[in-house]
């Protein structure tokens, strides 16, 4: 099934210059989707998740309009034609 992953411009250089990545995936949840994303664009992995495969603290992932932190985390389901957004949190100083 096709799923679109939107990434911030900072990450585009690690994804062949693209900010909208269309993946063909059989993943049923965000965890599986990210695993497919790393296969296609391996340089994104360490920038989005840490050594324990946890999403970095100041990065948010949305499925549609829902932040996965407030859903089921990496087990949040994904469906065909979903739009996934990886966005840096508004934080820092």
């Amino acid at each position: 099934m096709p799923v679109t992953v939107r990434i911030p411009s900072y990450l585009a250089e690690f994804a062949k210059g693209q900010t909208a990545l269309v993946l063909e995936t059989g993943a049923r949840n965000v965890r599986g989707l990210l695993a497919d994303l790393w296969k296609e664009y391996p340089a994104l992995r360490d920038r989005v998740v840490d050594e324990q495969s946890e999403v970095r603290q100041h990065i948010n992932i949305f499925v549609g309009e829902d932040a996965i932190r407030h859903a089921s985390g990496l087990d949040t389901p994904v469906s065909a034609n979903d739009e996934i957004m990886i966005v840096p949190a508004v934080s820092g100083g």
């Binding site: 391996p42 360490d46 050594e51 990065i59």
Partner: protein, 417 residues
């Protein structure tokens, strides 16, 4: 974003590497050290707690740790003083998955011995020591430190749970002393296989047990220029000297306005000589009485004298962090420090007089020095990833390879002999 400028040092020039909370700067001067040109900022907007310069084996390689609160922490390097730099596709300093740990920051980059030009070390948060034996391409955690039995009892300090000081022994490659906040000093005498707490005599005022085996909040340690067994230690309360490589420590806070502070550096040539910048109390953490004073001892801590010429003695409420003071290796020695208020000070005469080198920087986290071409080469060696800015580096080898290197049968810390 600010315009990035570059410096073009020549062999023999002095470099000042300045890591700030908003990027890295590279300053250059000739040996007079009176006028400085400024390169940077590099890694604009990112905290840079660690920098180093590798002149071994013909290199002139700049290293820095770029921390991003969003994207994690990476090591970057440049063979042209920052003009172009590496940005590895896969991060090179990473904890093994089964450690349960994740890298927060790199606090120290330590260039290995001259006769082992591929050896480097990193001190990181959470507290661990990493090593590379291929010039910084691949890194692995030193197992003896990663799996230290004290680890579950270590408690983070205000700066986090960081391994911030790495001091290889200059003649015994089996020996190295490191410092962790808040755990204290640990020394290996077997190339990194095992590490023993070396804190006897160092107090921990913030613990129920004031003289524990470990748990001290050591802020910085520096080795004497002439006597490799003599170490100086600035503690979270307490100023100490060891004459036996860290086995025991004696209080040397004689005549200083406060024994609280962060940096301590030994003179690069003169024995028994070291520098500190006391700050007032662990709650206030500013220079006492609004006076910015560097204190120098020339007799291993029996007496300290204030060095103030050129430093503000009114309304100078400054904080100088643990890695924000350094010396160069010239004669007379250059001594430099940076403040959290973004001022960079320097002396080109062993501390006798001081001047502002730069003002208006972001808060300064680290200051390091180097002499270009000191290793005798022409700087022709290529960086671990030699593609231009943000080009992809070779991906890190598998963890199995890294782990094999880490276990390294007595080669752990320091491929060491």
């Amino acid at each position: 974003m600010p315009a990035v400028q570059h410096v073009s040092p020549k062999s023999g020039d002095v470099l000042l590497l300045v890591g700030t909370m908003k990027g890295a700067f590279v300053l250059r001067s000739d040996k007079a050290r009176k006028k400085w040109s400024v390169g940077g900022p590099y890694s604009v907007g990112s905290p840079v707690y660690a920098m180093a310069f590798d002149t071994r084996d013909g290199r002139n390689r700049l290293w820095w740790a770029q921390q991003s609160f969003r994207w994690g922490t990476i090591l970057r390097s440049s063979d042209d003083f920052g003009r172009t730099s590496t940005e590895p596709e896969a991060y090179s300093v990473k904890f093994p998955e089964d450690s349960g740990l994740a890298l927060k920051n790199i606090w120290q980059i330590c260039i290995g011995p001259q006769d082992e030009p591929e050896t480097m070390y990193c001190g990181v948060e959470p507290a661990a020591l990493f090593q590379s034996h291929d010039g910084g391409k691949n890194w692995s955690a030193v197992e003896g430190m990663l799996k230290h039995p004290h680890r579950p009892k270590w408690v983070p300090g205000g700066g986090g749970m960081c391994l911030h000081t790495i001091i290889p022994h200059p003649t015994n490659k089996q020996s190295m002393i490191i410092a962790i906040s808040t755990a204290g000093c640990y020394r290996t005498d077997d190339g990194g296989a095992t590490w023993q707490a070396r804190n006897r005599g160092v107090r921990a005022d913030f613990l129920p047990e004031k003289n524990p085996e470990f748990g001290q909040c050591v802020h910085k340690v520096s080795r004497d220029a002439a006597n490799p067994e003599r170490l100086y230690l600035q503690n979270h309360w307490g100023l100490y000297r060891s004459d036996d490589g860290g086995d025991t420590w004696q209080d040397i806070a004689n005549g200083v306005p406060s024994d609280f502070g962060f940096p301590i550096v030994a003179h690069p040539h003169q024995k028994d000589t070291a520098y500190i910048i006391p700050v007032e109390s662990d709650e206030y953490r500013c220079t006492p009485e609004g006076k910015l004073r560097v204190y120098q001892t020339k007799n291993a801590g029996k007496k300290w004298e204030a060095l103030t010429r050129g430093l503000p003695q009114k309304n100078a409420l400054e904080t100088i962090l643990r890695d924000a003071m350094a010396t160069d290796t010239l004669r007379p020695a250059g001594i430099y420090f940076g403040t959290r208020s973004g001022k960079l000070y320097g002396s080109n005469n062993d501390g006798k007089s001081w001047s502002v080198i730069m003002d208006g920087l972001p808060p300064i986290a680290c200051v390091k020095t180097a002499i270009v071409g000191e290793g005798g080469g022409k700087g022709s060696r290529k960086s671990p990833s030699s593609k231009k800015h943000k080009a992809a580096a070779p991906r890190a080898k598998s963890r199995a390879v890294a782990a094999k290197k880490a276990s390294g049968k007595k080669r752990a810390v320091a491929r060491a002999r």
